[in-house]
């Protein structure tokens, strides 16, 4: 079975519909599926709900789909550094569900693992707990959080073999792995496709069972939000 598609538009063909829930990987601008997000924008699909740790920044990542008003709702843990997001949110044009970062990651992991809900201490006694079941285990309060079952997963990986076994690079793994597992269909963009047999089976981060479609997104011009460096000591 061929999982490799010639373009992002081709890989998304037949998968997009108005009002759908998309789980997207990335942390800030690190490891965002930028080619696929661009193709979602170009498709014109609207009323989207995104489960994603962040909403990109102005004109990067999901930020591009905010500008075109294709996003109805964000499920995210942090949405700073994004003026258009702020404007739409304050104007009541965009719905936001804040989910603590670890809870959001676990909601994706749980959804991907067929677990509809789980109890966590995170958020007990806070606004996050409002409207949620509280259960006492061994004398401690926990709240019920729901797994995320997305219509589509959009993910960025470093390398894939032809069967969709994935390897991520450094901290670009982040939400890409749990997001990949929780969609009915997972589309992945990678920097490089390598032949079967060239990835060490002991070092696969995400097995190809989770991956239905892939594109090669290279070349990438990866963005950095905050460049921080130190000076070399004189020799």
């Amino acid at each position: 079975m061929n999982k490799l598609y010639p373009s992002a538009a081709a890989a998304l063909d037949g998968l997009l519909k108005d009002g759908m829930l998309i789980a997207a990987g990335g942390f800030g601008l690190c490891g965002i599926p930028e080619r696929l997000l661009d193709a979602v924008r170009d498709s014109g699909v609207k009323d989207l709900t995104f489960a994603s740790n962040n909403a990109g920044i102005d004109n990067e990542g999901i930020g591009k789909l905010l500008r075109t008003r294709q996003v109805r709702k964000m499920i995210a843990s942090y949405v700073g550094e994004n003026k258009e997001f702020e404007r739409q949110f304050l104007a009541g044009e965009l719905e936001v569900e804040f989910s603590p970062q670890g809870t959001l990651a676990e909601r994706m992991r749980a959804g991907g693992a067929g677990i509809p809900g789980f109890y966590t201490r995170t958020g007990v006694g806070t606004q996050v707990a409002e409207g949620k079941e509280v259960k006492v285990f061994d004398g401690e309060d926990y709240i019920l959080e729901r797994g995320i079952f997305a219509d589509l997963s959009l993910v960025k990986a470093w390398k894939a073999d032809e069967t969709g076994n994935l390897v991520f690079r450094k901290t670009a793994r982040n939400f890409n792995l749990p997001a990949a597992t929780c969609g009915k269909v997972c589309v992945v963009e990678v920097e490089e496709i390598v032949p079967k047999g060239s990835l060490d089976p002991d070092c696969i981060h995400l097995p190809g069972v989770y991956v239905q479609r892939m594109i090669v997104g290279a070349p990438y011009d990866k963005k950095i939000e905050f460049v921080t460096t130190r000076k070399r000591e004189a020799a």
Binding site: Y78, G102, G125, T126, K170
Partner: protein, 219 residues
């Protein structure tokens, strides 16, 4: 009082970080928040090895990279470029918060807008202002073994920040173990005990603390 006298009283941001760093123990796995908590990394006591966790998926945070060696795939939770160490390890966000929620991280140091006498903390939103989100703060305070708050003793308006009950929306309920301010250190042995004033910054008196604290604590 001269400006010099004013500066001499209490701890600087770096001294607050150094005080928090004295709580580090050899072999600790530690998560540091943004701001003054980040400075704690510069004050790890000699002979002690700690491993820093970044909640976006890394253990063993190295220093900022040399100019020209920045890597967009290697950032900390503040989205700054960092470097790796020989013992660094990468993992996904679900695994990262599994180790936080599961109690495998020994210590976290974070900032706060308010801490209450019962250990409640508020540090993620101010009603009426743009809400950016809690990020990983709620997970950290709920899951890490020991929670140290580093904050100014009073707000910019001079209002106490260690108070009877938080007025801002909570980040966590009954979670704080220690408070390091620019004036003093408070600690409690467990989450049923009241906070105790255990240390005063240079030039600060117990009376100064009484005047700038509305929370109940043991002297």
């Amino acid at each position: 009082m001269t400006i010099h006298d004013h500066l001499a009283k209490g701890w600087t941001r770096d001294q607050m970080a150094a005080r928090a760093a004295r709580e580090l123990q050899d072999g600790f796995y530690v998560n540091l928040g943004i701001g003054i908590p980040t400075l704690v990394a510069n004050h790890v006591p000699e002979g002690i090895e700690v491993t820093l966790q970044s909640e976006n998926g890394m253990l063993g945070i190295g220093p900022f990279p040399y100019e020209g060696e920045e890597d967009a795939d290697l950032i900390n939770a503040g989205k700054q470029t960092i470097s790796e160490l020989p013992h660094s390890a990468y993992f996904d966000s679900a695994a990262s918060f599994a180790m936080i929620r599961g109690g495998h991280i020994d210590l976290t140091v974070l900032g706060a807008m308010e801490v209450a006498e019962n250990g409640d903390i508020a540090n993620w939103m101010i009603p009426g202002k743009m809400i950016k989100g809690m990020g990983g703060a709620m997970d950290l305070v709920a899951g890490v073994k020991k929670i140290i708050v580093v904050m100014e003793h009073v707000s910019k308006n001079g209002d106490p920040k260690f108070i009877p009950a938080c007025t801002l929306p909570l980040t966590g309920r009954n979670v704080v173990d220690m408070i390091v301010t620019d004036l003093a250190v408070f600690q409690r042995p467990d989450h049923n005990a009241p906070f105790k004033l255990i240390e005063l910054a240079p030039g600060v008196t117990k009376e100064d603390i009484r005047q700038k604290t509305t929370a109940q604590y043991i002297e």
